[in-house]
């Protein structure tokens, strides 16, 4: 079980690396070449010291000065090559990792868009977004920074140690003996201190939310005159956070300083051994200098290796968290070609539905909405009315054996999902507007935005005037980074947006609740004129909004309590009549002051 999950989480990396293999290979090859060029330079210095400067072994046909110049030119040449390879490896890495990142981001976005609505309901928005951003960042670090770096360092160690071995085995062995100690010490420290860093992060989070609470609750703080109390609370968190960091500083100072000490001791040992061997004539002066310079080039990479290794362990969790999203199944595409005209009657037959087993939402619902008619549903939150709408546009699919919903005789589960939704215009009670201009919001379903069309839709939805009142008119940006619209304005913009779809079926899910009665009437009249042939489903608790419908049902606790036209229903005893009387005669009751159930 556990091993299976492991392969899964690494599979996502390979999946996104596909197509970027050449960059990956390029990064590795060029970084090997780059390291090799760097390794050449101490060799040239060594040759200079051992041969040119002692006038022994100067290449034929050159005098000493020319030989020195040649050495210098070789150093420059090696430096140029190393620079070019370094550039190439960095660019390969950048291209590969940015492609990798883009494909993860795009895939995640695309995938979340097609995950079933039920999945979205079950998961917290903040949590999903965090996985798509922070966790992806951790994975990127792992794949694009830590892995290549570990590879480069390992190659560097092998190459340099190899060269050093070829010069002198005992000194190299002594030098290399320190490396496991340095790597181990650093890895140990970083994994131990990790907990402290977490504590500090948590303390920072606590401090930050204390400030945030104070800012959002500023009215309460002022109204109770609790400024001093708040400052005391803040001080406590602020000090706790600071103390943790001071403590961390102490730990780190010891770690860094002792790391320096160990490294320097290693350098000392290499130097002393080198001196002894050189004096004994077992190595040349040039080799001594080269030795020290190779050794010095190894110390930092070796020290950072320990830290990288302990950091890399964090990536596994993030990979699992991202894989969790990617492994969730998208909405299944049903018979992509089945796109019948949706202008027929809408039929609910024996429809029962529950989100969870023990809590039925709809119980055996039956009704038919003739094509082109207006159908009204009266009900409150929890009566099951919104569930019916969710089922109709297949945000949820009706399970087998729970009845059927048909349009023009075709079961909607056999109709292409996207096609179905395109042909059902729906407006929600609390509509979601995208943070872009009003024009773009209204025309979101269109490829091209024609001013006339958009204004026409806005006029029908009685929102044209309000939009023109904004300084930027239709170019006003709404949403999180723009103007905040009132509930009624949002609802009307959403209606205009829906109208652009020109759908044969329109659903208003309590979507005029924040609009006053007068405007409500006006909008419905305009709509009727504009969308003569459309089948309209209207959910509301306002009798005036519903009374002209061809058929009205009253929903309660998942069942249809009453069904009929307005005239029929006001003749019957029942909730419809009660509500009608309340709403029609409310002024009388207001005067009497008796109708309130207290």
């Amino acid at each position: 079980m556990k091993s299976k999950r492991k392969t899964d989480k690494f599979r996502i990396i390979f999946r996104f690396l596909k197509g970027n293999i050449r960059f990956l290979v390029g990064t590795l090859v060029f970084s090997v070449l780059f390291t090799a060029c760097n390794a050449l330079i101490p060799q040239i210095v060594k040759y200079t010291a051992d041969h040119i400067l002692v006038l022994d072994g100067i290449p034929d046909g050159l005098n000493v000065r020319q030989a020195l110049l040649l050495a210098a030119i070789l150093v420059v040449a090696a430096a140029v090559l190393s620079g070019i390879f370094n550039y190439l490896s960095k660019m390969c890495l950048a291209k590969g990792s940015e492609n990798f990142l883009k494909s993860i981001r795009d895939t995640l976005y695309h995938h979340t868009q097609y995950l079933p609505f039920s999945w979205h309901v079950q998961h917290q928005t903040g949590e999903i977004i965090q996985r798509c951003t922070s966790d992806v960042e951790v994975i990127r670090n792992f794949v694009c920074r830590q892995l290549p770096e570990v590879f480069r360092i390992c190659f560097l160690i092998i190459l340099y140690l190899g060269i050093m071995f070829s010069m002198n085995v005992p000194i190299t062995l002594a030098a290399a003996a320190f490396f496991p100690v340095i790597i181990g010490y650093s890895a140990f420290f970083h994994s131990r201190i990790g907990k402290r860093f977490q504590d500090a992060d948590e303390a920072e989070g606590a401090l930050s939310s204390t400030v945030q609470e104070n800012l959002t609750g500023v009215r309460v703080v002022r109204a109770f005159g609790r400024e001093k109390y708040e400052i005391d609370r803040f001080d406590q968190k602020n000090n706790a956070y600071s103390d943790l960091w001071v403590y961390l500083g102490k730990l780190m100072s010891v770690f860094w300083a002792s790391g320096d000490l160990i490294t320097n001791l290693q350098v000392l040992m290499v130097m002393v051994l080198g001196v002894v061997f050189a004096v004994e004539g077992r190595i040349t002066l040039g080799e001594f200098i080269a030795f020290l310079s190779y050794n010095a080039s190894l110390t930092w990479p070796v020290r950072s290796l320990g830290r990288i290794i302990s950091d890399m362990s964090k990536a596994g969790v993030s990979m699992e968290r991202v894989a969790y999203i990617l492994e969730a199944e998208e909405e299944d595409a049903t018979d992509a070609n089945n796109k019948p005209a949706l202008t027929g009657d809408i039929c609910f037959r024996n429809v029962s539905f529950a989100y969870s087993l023990d809590h039925p939402i709809l119980k055996n619902i039956n009704f038919t909405i003739p094509a082109g008619s207006t159908f009204a549903i009266l009900g409150t939150t929890g009566s099951g009315k919104s569930t019916m709408v969710h089922l109709l546009n297949r945000l949820y699919d009706l399970p087998e054996g729970c009845g059927s919903i048909t349009i023009g005789g075709t079961d909607i589960r056999d109709i292409d999902r996207q096609y179905l939704r395109q042909n059902i215009g729906m407006v929600l009670q609390e509509p979601f507007l995208f943070s872009r201009t009003i024009r773009e919001n209204i025309g979101i379903t269109k490829e091209q935005l024609l001013d006339e069309e958009i204004r026409h839709a806005a006029e029908i939805a009685c929102v044209d005037e309000s939009i023109l009142h904004f300084t930027d008119g239709y170019d006003t940006i709404v949403g999180e980074r723009g103007v905040t619209l009132s509930g009624g304005q949002k609802q009307r913009v959403a209606i205009a947006r829906m109208l652009m779809k020109q759908a044969p079926v329109l659903v208003f899910d309590d979507s005029l609740s924040a609009v006053d009665t007068e405007t409500d009437n006006k909008i419905r009249k305009e709509l009727k004129k504009e969308m003569e042939k459309a089948t309209v489903i209207m959910i509301s608790h306002r009798i005036t909004s519903l009374m002209q419908a061809d058929c009205i049902i009253v929903m309660d606790k998942g069942e249809i309590q009453q069904m009929g036209t307005h005239d029929q229903l006001i003749q019957q005893e029942g909730p419809y009549k009660d509500i009608y009387e309340i709403q029609m005669n409310s002024d009388i009751r207001l005067m009497e002051g008796g109708a309130v159930c207290e």
Binding site: L68, A71, A72, V75, V76, A79, V80, S82, G83, N86, Y87, K90, A94, L108, T112, Q113, I128, T133, E213, L215, G217, V220, R222, A223, F224, G225, E227, Y229, I231, F234, Y241, S242, W245, G249, K250, S253, A257, L261, L268, M271, V272, V276, A278, V279, L292, R421, F432, F434, T445, R481, G487, K501, H541, V554, P575, S586, L590, M591, G593, V596
Partner: protein
């Protein structure tokens, strides 16, 4: 808008940096210590290559091992000394970073407690929070680590140059020719890299908000079938990100090898020029080796120097954001005389506080919001005797809270006076007034902590028994008992673990405990279950008795029982009177209440 980003300046502006001196002053001693340690550190770093020189010249060249013991001891002494300086220096830097940050955050927080609501209304919480947390962290980190690092770099570079001049001035001059080239190069690239990095960060926030919309608006996206369109737009942003990141990476990929190249160029020059000198006998081999070490070693500090300098320039924006918040003037302030008599919120002189009765009078009050276009109150007069219940009704967004804001002195009248117990409230301190006000919000705000702590917020010295009694008085004890740890249960961040109704009951208890003479209630509009609603109704009745109160009312029963109803439309008071009088007028109130009543009643039938 306050949140517009300032243009980034291109040079160091000392007047900006001066503003943070007060925060560094208390840590003068640590600063001096750190700078000193830094200097010592760089001296050690300069000495290190000399060991190698000595090893070559005194042992290898002379072919002897005598004196090696002393050499080892000296080396160990130096590295132990270096270890000590690193420890002191690291701790010192951390101390400066953390303590400066702590003080800055505190100063911001204390200042925020004084700023007026007009500031809060115009500034998103996230923006303020980011000033307090992120900007401060960036500034102190830069000062404590980077600026001090810069001092190290300067002293190291100067020291190495001196050492090289001392060892062999001709060779030193050869290397020094390269220094300006590296400085210019770094300067050029760092500025560009920073600009691109800023660009990348900007695009990154676009990506986050893209996810945000796609996921929060999932239902809308699905029913409009705009998945592909949104994906196309998102994909364009990630493409933008990809190309910007690659551009930033390219600059880096050119810059780093170029700097390294100059290091090698210096080595080559040393090899060529120095080699000749060695041959002529003007230079010994050990010094040549030391020179190669310096030649490579000097470039990293130069590189860092220029890098830090350009970061300092970009950090000026952070400093300006922080200091401009600190310089923001509170609009409601107590006069010096008032502060003298009544004290501030750190030292309230409670012995001078008069008891309050609760008479409130608006006397020729005109008012205009600081960011508003027109007066919302003009020459408004109203006498509210102690114990009166005033209901304020009107549509959402009509400006119902204006009167409450004025009474609570969250805002002050632009003209005229507000008298409490016959005296202009500006003659007394804000804290005096606020200590006598109870306030329950529509979306009640609780603080993370236990139920007990939240109720006690009303009166900090209340005993557990008193807290419980207050809770019982408004039936909030039922809320506490339902939770698994009773009064010690955590309410979650902002009270998230509780429903709106439960939060309201707790905030009623909080207000009861404060036992205020003036009570302000903004009734909840969101649906609350019948049982809680009844409890709230009873609690309201209890709280209102005998207190001057202002109710932003949504429920008819509350409105009907009010002594005075003020009807607000488009920010102005259009009608006032008692319930029946207003109904008979058949004006705006009649329309408004009728609609509200019908909705309320219909919901009850269907429930």
């Amino acid at each position: 808008m306050r949140i517009e980003e300032k243009e980034y300046t291109k040079s160091i502006d000392l007047s900006i940096w001066k503003k943070i001196f007060p925060f560094l002053a208390p840590r003068k001693n640590t600063l001096i210590m750190v700078v000193l340690m830094n200097l010592l550190c760089s001296v050690v770093d300069i000495i290190m290559p000399l060991f190698q020189r000595h090893a070559i010249d005194s042992f290898i060249e002379k072919n002897t091992l005598s004196g090696l013991g002393g050499f080892i001891l000296l080396y160990i002494a130096v590295i132990v000394f270096q270890m000590c300086t690193v420890i002191c220096f690291t701790r010192g830097c951390m101390k400066i970073d953390v303590e400066t940050g702590r003080d800055m955050k505190r100063a911001l927080f204390v200042h925020l407690q004084k700023l007026s609501f007009s500031y809060y209304n115009a500034t998103p919480v996230g923006y303020i929070l980011s000033r307090v947390m992120n900007d401060v962290a960036r500034i102190t980190e830069l000062i404590a680590w980077d600026v001090i690092d810069m001092l190290w770099a300067i002293s190291y570079v100067v020291g190495v140059l001196v050492a090289m001049l001392f060892l062999n001035w001709k060779l030193a001059l050869v290397i020094m020719m390269i220094v300006p080239a590296i400085a210019v190069l770094t300067w050029y690239f760092q500025n560009r890299i920073l600009t691109w990095n800023r660009q990348v960060r900007k695009i990154n926030s676009k990506i986050t908000s893209g996810y945000n919309e796609g996921i929060m608006g999932a239902k809308t996206v699905k029913s409009l079938v705009v998945e592909e369109k949104n994906f196309g737009e998102f994909s364009a942003v990630t493409e933008e990100m990809r190309s910007a990141s690659i551009k930033a990476a390219r600059l880096n990929a050119i810059y780093i090898p170029m700097v390294a190249f100059f290091g090698f160029l210096a080595t080559a020059l040393v090899l060529d020029r120095g080699g000749i000198m060695v041959l002529d006998g003007r230079l010994d081999l050990g010094t040549l080796a030391a020179f190669t070490a310096y030649a490579v070693g000097i470039f990293e500090p130069i590189q860092r120097l220029a890098g830090i300098l350009s970061q300092c320039i970009s950090a000026q924006a952070n400093i300006e954001r922080v200091t401009s918040l600190l310089e923001e003037k509170p609009q409601v302030v107590d006069s010096p005389e008032v502060l003298e008599k009544y004290g501030d919120f750190f030292n309230p002189h409670k012995e001078n506080w008069e008891p309050i009765k609760g008479d409130i009078e608006f006397e020729h009050v005109s008012f205009q919001y600081p960011d508003g276009k027109e007066e919302v109150l003009t020459d408004f007069n109203l006498k509210i005797p102690a114990g009166t219940n005033v209901a304020i009704v009107g549509e959402t967004g009509a400006g119902k809270s204006t009167l409450v804001n004025l009474v609570c002195r969250f805002f002050e009248p632009t003209k005229g006076r507000i008298l409490i117990d016959g005296r202009d409230y500006r003659e007394r301190s804000q804290l005096w007034l606020h200590s006598n006000i109870g306030y329950v919000l529509q979306n009640p705000h609780l603080f993370s902590g236990t139920v007990m702590e939240n109720i006690r917020y009303g009166r900090l010295d209340a005993t557990d028994e008193e807290v419980k009694a207050a809770a019982r008085a408004v039936h909030a004890d039922e809320v506490a008992e339902k939770l698994d740890k009773g009064y010690d249960s955590d309410v979650g961040e902002g009270g998230d673990c509780l429903s709106t109704g439960e939060k309201q009951l707790l905030s009623f208890a909080r207000a009861v405990l404060a036992d205020p003479a003036i009570f302000v209630l903004d009734e909840a509009t969101s649906s609350i279950d019948t049982k809680t609603e009844q409890l709230i109704q009873q609690a309201t009745d209890k709280l209102l008795k005998g207190r001057t109160s202002f109710l932003i009312a949504h429920r008819l029963s509350t409105i009907r029982n009010a002594d005075l109803i003020l009807v607000v439309r488009d920010g102005k008071i259009v009608e006032q009177g008692r319930h029946l009088e207003l109904l008979e007028k058949k004006g705006y109130y009649y329309q408004l209440v009728r609609q509200q009543f019908a909705d309320e009643e219909s919901r009850k039938v269907l429930r």
